[in-house]
Symmetry: C2
C-alpha cells in the first residue's frame, strides 16, 4: 500500500465518542521515512487528545497477512499506530451506559494514520500485509490478573457484522479470541471508579 | 536474523556510564509475536532505568539494508528499540567533562534488544535488513530550532574507527550526516542547566 507523505496533522471523528482517528505527518527521503508517532505538545495540546502519561509501549508483530486479534476492551486508554504494513481495524463501543453501546467503527490504518481508543471501547485488527508491526501506547500497566476485568466480544458476531477483508476461517487467530461471547451476552465495561 | 524468544528482562553495562542495553522478553505464537517495548514499573522500577515521562514516540523506517543515520547527540534521553528488522548501532560519549568522552560502544539490536541512551551520548545506526523499523521514546520535544544545540560527529571518523558492517560509501546517508565534524573538532555537549 502506498504511504501518503506530509499529511497535515489532524483528527477525525468516528461516530463513537472519544474514539478519534489521527492523520500523522510522515516525512519521506532517500533512506525511507521518519514520523512522530506521538508528540505530546501537538497531540494533547493542539489536537486536544487527552494528555495522558503513557506507561507502556507495546508492539505486536504479524508474520502473515490475515492474522486477526480482538475484540478486547481493556481498562485503559490506547494510542495505536503502525510501524510498518497496514491493518483493517474494527472498534466497538462496549461502555456501560454509553448512548452508542454496540456501535462499530472500521477503517484501514497504515503508518500515516493512528487512532486514540478510549477505555471501554473494544479494539481489534486484521493485518493486511505480511510483516505488519502494530505499536501502541497505554496509560496503565497490563497484568495477567487484570485480564479478568476486560470486556471481550466475538470477532465473528453477526450482530456486529464486521466485514473483515480476509475471511476469518482463513486467518491466524488465538484460541482465546475464537471463544469470546456475542454482543448480546457481553457484560459492558463499567466506568472507572474515582 | 532469528529472534530469541522469552529472554529474561535484564540490563547490561556498556562501558559508557548511563548507556544501558536491555534484553526484552518477546512472546512468540501462531500469529507472530508480542512484546512490551517499554513498561514503566518493570523498567524504571525493577531494572532501575530513569523514570522519565516520554513525550515523543518516533519511528524511522529504512527501505534498504545499509541506510545509516547519525551520529547525533541530542539534549534529551532516548529509549530505542526495533519494531522489525535489525540494526548495527554505534554510540559515542560526547558529554563535556565525561571521563569516557570519545569512547565508542557498538552492538546489534533486533526486536529483543533495546538501549537507553542518555542525553549527550551520540546515537547512530545502520539498518542490517531491508524494511527495518526503528522506534524510540524521548523525554523532551524535538524542534528544528533545537537542532543548533545538538552535538554531531562524523560516522566515518577514523579516530572513532567504527566497523560498519556495510561500507558507508555503499549506504544511503542524508546530506547532513555526510558533513559532520570529526571528534577532534566537536564541541562537547554541556550538562543540562538546572
Ligand atoms: C497485552 C499484553 C500481553 N502480554 C503477553 C501475554 C502473552 O504472552 C502475549 C500475547 O498476549 P495476548 O493477550 O494474546 O495478545 P493480543 O495481541 O491478543 O492482545 C492485544 O490485542 C489487541 C487487539 C489489543 O488491543 C491489545 O491491547 C491486546 O489485548 O503477550 C504482555 O506481556 N503484556 C501485555 O501488555
Ligand atoms: C528527529 C525528528 C525529525 N523530524 C523531521 C525532520 C525531517 O523532516 C525528518 C527527518 O529528520 P532527520 O533529522 O533527517 O532524521 P534522522 O533519522 O537523521 O535523525 C535521527 O537520527 C537518529 C540517529 C537519532 O538518534 C534521532 O534522534 C534523530 O536525530 O523528520 C521531526 O519531525 N521530528 C523529530 O523528532
Amino acid at each position: 500500500m502506498a504511504l501518503e507523505y506530509e499529511k497535515q496533522l489532524a483528527t477525525h471523528e468516528t461516530g463513537i465518542p472519544g474514539l478519534v482517528v489521527v492523520d500523522l505527518s510522515v516525512h519521506g527521503d532517500n533512506r525511507g521515512w521518519f514520523k512522530e508517532n506521538w508528540q505530546r505538545a501537538k497531540m494533547a495540546g493542539e489536537l486536544g487528545l487527552p494528555d495522558l502519561r503513557w506507561v507502556q509501549n507495546n508492539i505486536s508483530f504479524n508474520v502473515e497477512r490475515g492474522a486477526t486479534r480482538g475484540i478486547h476492551a481493556e481498562p485503559w486508554n490506547k494510542f495505536i499506530s503502525i510501524a510498518t504494513g497496514s491493518v483493517f481495524g474494527a472498534w466497538v463501543d462496549l461502555r456501560a451506559g454509553s448512548p452508542t453501546f454496540g456501535r462499530v467503527y472500521t477503517c484501514v490504518l497504515d503508518s500515516s494514520k493512528a487512532i486514540f481508543v478510549p477505555r471501554g471501547v473494544g479494539n481489534s485488527y486484521q493485518a493486511l500485509e505480511d510483516g505488519t508491526a502494530y505499536t501502541y501506547l497505554v496509560d496503565a500497566h497490563w497484568s495477567l490478573e487484570l485480564k479478568k476485568t476486560y470486556t471481550f466480544v466475538n470477532l465473528a458476531d453477526p450482530d456486529l457484522a464486521i466485514e473483515w477483508p480476509i475471511p476469518l476461517d482463513q486467518c491466524e487467530i488465538s484460541e482465546a479470541d475464537k471463544n469470546h461471547p456475542m454482543l448480546e451476552d457481553v457484560v459492558p465495561m463499567q466506568p472507572k471508579r474515582t
